[in-house]
Symmetry: C2
Subunit: 209 residues, 2 copies
């Protein structure tokens, strides 16, 4: 009868915690979810277990998160907000080619390190492709980050075609995320080589032309 027509769009908002008590409980729910994802992966994370570990009832959980994906979404949003600030800061003051080279290289290292160190992030973003809503969040995030790159490129190459710059920046950024995801899913040593090769390839694209 009810199709759940595969086209689930985005998580609908349910209720925002307005009192101190509920705000703390929501924090506990997120912490519990994060811990469980770290231990078992988001797929194996059970809503009942999240509630139990947070010390709340299953009903309370659903009071603030309309469904399972909404919790994962909430965690993902935190990470993106955090990293966005970091990226913006790193690229803001780039003035020449050498500066871009250094800033970009650092950024990739930071990103790679983050994925290596943060199981939750790794897990969430590796499921990203399968989830329409998360995929959209990632794309939007990627576009926003690419904009910072575009700004730098425009400064370095004032005469270039803006559309081409947008395309290049977006592609390079997405390739970077793909490269890091690839790198963490193989042996550490090969991963390091792949990331280094990506850097080289991306910088050649960004600095030439």
């Amino acid at each position: 009868m009810e199709g759940t027509p595969a086209n689930e769009q985005i998580a609908s908002p349910r209720r925002a915690p307005s009192q101190q008590r509920s705000r703390e409980r929501v924090e506990r729910m997120l912490a519990a979810a994060s811990a469980l994802i770290t231990e078992q992966g988001s797929d194996a994370m059970r809503m009942g277990e999240v509630a139990e570990r947070a010390g709340v009832s299953i009903g309370s959980l659903y009071q603030f998160f309309p469904d399972k994906r909404a919790i994962i979404w909430a965690l993902a949003e935190r990470y993106t907000a955090e990293s966005q600030a970091c990226i913006s800061a790193a690229l803001a003051n780039v003035g020449d080619a050498e500066g871009l080279r250094r800033a970009f290289s650092d950024l990739v290292d930071i990103y790679y390190g983050l994925f290596l160190a943060e199981p939750v992030m790794r897990d969430i973003w590796s499921g990203t492709q399968a989830d329409k809503a998360l995929r959209q969040l990632e794309l939007a995030d990627s576009r926003a980050n690419a904009e910072f790159l575009v700004a730098v490129l425009k400064r370095l190459r004032p005469g270039a075609d803006p559309v081409a710059l947008e395309t290049t920046a977006f592609l390079v950024w997405q390739m970077g995320e793909a490269a890091v995801r690839l790198a963490i899913s193989v042996e550490r040593q090969e991963g390091d080589r792949l990331v280094a090769a990506y850097k080289c390839m991306a910088l050649r694209e960004l600095l030439s032309e």
Copy 2:
């Protein structure tokens, strides 16, 4: 007395159809699964529905496929086998830089076209990141395809470091898959631009150095 304490890791084999009758039924099951994935996506595909549409009982379905992922895996294997042959043929006779440029460009176009035209493939591979077993299949496939590239590169640059060539080829190949997946998840026009930009970037990497 049912022990079978075997390690169940990946999709365990259940039973291979040995009679004509069952072979035809398995074909129908795969066809039904493929159709349902096309219509609704692999996530929304229900095992009961697959059985019904194939005109078999749910029990028969599980006779030949140990679980839901096994059907998807089986479909994925068909596509990879097909494309592997295609790639091997395209790269086998490349003898110079210009030949590589043309062959690689064609290959990317074919791959892009395949993803645009084949909803099942698109769906299966977009879920790939989330499924460990499928991810492994994809990585193995990617490595195999990269090998063809490595062979070409070794011919063009006999003196180069083999490990570096492996790394480059594997990275370029994975970037290509990521680029195509990105391209099909945005507007067609932007997708075309991204694929073109990828080609340019990849060829620069493959031909220089």
